[in-house]
């Protein structure tokens, strides 16, 4: 393998990996406040991309993206309020089935609105043939947009959870729900908020990735399962772990193309998921004892 090809794969890997990391963080935000894995997480990414593509016919790119993120946030809030908020102590099996049902419904609605076609946003800078040379490899500027957006998003999320009172309340809710209620925190609102937040970051990721990976009504399931792989790999609930694991999975996936046909790519990342689940279900960075206390 030449150096150029190597760098090409690395860049492809980290741009996909960054998206997986964002999806994984979306899983983590909801998991931390509710103990639920939201199987519809990938659908937020799909909705972000699809809505922004529809909006761009009427407005400029920044407004289209902002509009898509806001609409997806509203959808996220509605989902939580209509389907989850009023359930009293639902079992894990019940929550899994409800969120799977939701993901199917969202996907089918998207199919009826946007059809089966593959769509994409225009490139943010230049067009599909614009590229930047890095050590002989040609890299699209969109890759840098993806990386920059994901980095900014993670920094802002970190600040949000540390600096703002809502962020601190959400963390309190994650640490000990009963104690949070006793301290006067409205945990129900925190759950709604966690859905809104993970819908927002999912949608934004969906917008920035759209020019490179395209958007289609059915991309959600694949993203969800890879995002979940990353969340587990990094230790469920840990955002720092998710970033490292995301980049790792992205790069493994990119390099797998040089060994096996492209059509097996998804099978490879899922095989990694199974391997992790079977061997180290607490993840690469998570602690086994801490994982034992959690409720899956």
């Amino acid at each position: 393998m030449t150096l150029e090809l190597f760098i090409q794969y690395v860049f492809a890997g980290i741009s996909y990996g960054a998206i997986y990391a964002i999806v994984a963080i979306g899983f983590n935000i909801i998991y931390n406040t509710t103990g639920i894995i939201n199987f519809a997480q990938g659908e937020f990414v799909m909705l972000g991309g699809m809505i922004s593509i529809s909006l761009i016919e009427y407005t400029s790119l920044p407004f289209a993206i902002a509009g898509a993120v806001v609409i997806t946030m509203i959808i996220g809030a509605l989902i939580e309020m209509v389907f989850i908020r009023w359930l009293k102590g639902p079992s894990v099996l019940r929550m899994i089935i409800i969120t799977i049902g939701l993901s199917i419904l969202i996907r089918e609605v998207a199919l009826h609105i946007w059809g089966e076609g593959v769509r994409s946003l225009p490139y943010f800078i230049g067009d599909e043939i614009t590229s930047v040379a890095i050590m002989g490899a040609r890299v699209s500027p969109q890759v840098f947009c993806v990386l920059a957006t994901c980095t900014i998003m993670m920094v802002l999320l970190g600040l949000f959870f540390k600096m703002t009172s809502v962020g601190r309340e959400m963390r309190a809710c994650a640490a000990n729900r009963t104690a949070a209620i006793l301290c006067g925190i409205n945990t129900k609102n925190m759950v709604t908020f966690s859905f809104v937040l993970s819908a927002a970051i999912g949608a934004l990721a969906g917008c920035v990735m759209s020019p490179i990976t395209y958007s289609q009504y059915n991309i959600g399931t694949g993203l969800a399962i890879k995002g979940f792989t990353v969340a587990i790999l990094g230790g469920l609930g840990s955002s720092g772990g998710a970033v490292i694991a995301g980049l790792l999975l992205g790069i493994i996936e990119a390099f797998s193309v040089s060994v096996l046909p492209l059509s097996f790519q998804e099978a490879i990342s899922i095989a990694i998921l199974l391997l992790i689940l079977f061997i180290r279900p607490h993840g690469l960075f998570g602690s086994k004892d801490a994982a034992g206390l959690k409720e899956f």
């Binding site: 199987f39 419904l105 996907r107 689940l277």
Partner: protein, 358 residues
């Protein structure tokens, strides 16, 4: 004693009644969808034991169905004529495992017999279920759901990307499965009634097996695992062993359904392995009331029949998604159970002697 056999008698009467009704009203074409529903039902009742009684979710059962269907289809359609002199093919030939036929161009082909292919396919599914089940069933909740979902997607990706399995086109021209004498599983119009009964007899025996299973020591152990796994474990129930056994059993049911369905349709495509199919089976078990074999069977027949008739149109998948949500939100014990119990309680409260008792 009678109570135990009553559902089976009703079941048999229903199957015969549907046949008589359709043949007298000139709507015998409904039997085609009823036959296909029967095969899906076979998978669903197997899954019902895993989900409802053992309490383990599986989002990968379409994978086992596809393994059964695809292996059977591939083995009975791939021509072994050019390998005729190899030792393996000779051995198969001497054991009577080969048959010759003609392909669509009229050329002679030599293929493996459906009986042997069926046995290989079902054994393969059982073996895979064992291999996946040993590590997967140690997982719980979300992890188990994701692991089985992942398994299903891998199978889907493999059949979609392998030329041997026909890639996106699937496998067609699958020969009829001659069970014995003149009785064969095939989509031939002249044998529609015969195939209808083959399918339902298979489901009938499946139900007898599973009903006896859940009424036995195994069934009680499974229910103990469902309600409190740790408690069951400390009472000496071999939780891992029982979970694994029913998982493998359900995989065998699914693979068998896949084999028969493929020979009945004469073809199989990658959509049979899709995630939506697995989710659909879970939806049916949920609507039927999770730990309720007859409920699962009834719902499997009704919903699959409606779906195969195209009643839901392009909203087919959406309907099953909506069913999942609505059932889990409002009637986690299933559709049949909520109605019966609420009504029974209502009626009972109106009875005069109940008041005195209170």
């Amino acid at each position: 004693m009678l109570k135990k056999y009553l559902p089976f008698i009703f079941f048999a009467l229903f199957v015969v009644a549907v046949h008589l009704l359709t043949s007298t009203t000139g709507t015998i074409y409904y039997l085609t969808q009823m036959t296909m529903s029967a095969y899906y039902s076979l998978l669903v009742i197997g899954l019902c034991v895993v989900m409802g009684y053992a309490g383990q979710i599986s989002l990968g059962h379409a994978g086992f169905f596809a393994i059964g269907g695809y292996l059977s289809a591939a083995l009975t359609t791939s021509n072994l004529l050019e390998y005729k002199e190899t030792a393996v093919v000779r051995l198969l030939d001497s054991m009577g495992m080969l048959m010759s036929g003609q392909d669509i161009y009229g050329d002679t082909i030599v293929v493996i017999t459906p009986w042997f292919a069926c046995i290989v396919a079902v054994l393969a599914a059982a073996l895979l279920a064992l291999l996946i089940g040993i590590p997967a069933l140690k997982l719980k909740g979300h992890y188990l759901a994701m692991a089985t979902l992942g398994f299903g997607i891998i199978i889907y990706r493999i059949v979609l990307a392998t030329p041997y399995f026909g890639e996106a086109d699937g496998i067609s021209e699958v020969p009829a499965f001659v069970l014995f004498g003149d009785i064969a599983v095939s989509g031939d119009f002249t044998s529609r009634v015969e195939n209808y009964y083959i399918a339902w007899i298979l489901v009938f025996f499946g139900m007898i097996l599973l009903c006896n299973l859940i009424d036995s020591r195994v069934g009680r152990a499974l229910r103990a695992i469902h309600s409190a796994e740790d408690a069951a474990d400390s009472m000496g129930v071999d939780t891992t062993g029982y979970k694994l056994k029913v998982f493998v059993l359900s995989a065998v049911f699914a693979a068998l359904a896949g084999v028969f369905m493929t020979h009945y349709n004469g073809s199989i495509g990658p959509s049979e392995a899709g995630v939506m199919k697995s989710v659909r089976y879970v939806a049916i078990v949920a609507v039927g009331g999770m730990a309720h074999l007859w409920g699962a069977l009834i719902m499997a027949v009704v919903l699959n029949f409606l779906s195969l008739r195209g009643v839901f149109g392009s909203y087919d998948d959406a309907v099953f998604g909506a069913i999942l949500i609505v059932i889990m939100l409002f009637a986690p014990d299933g559709l049949l159970r909520i109605n019966l119990r609420a009504k029974m309680a209502h009626v009972a409260a109106l009875l005069p002697w109940r008041k005195r008792e209170a």
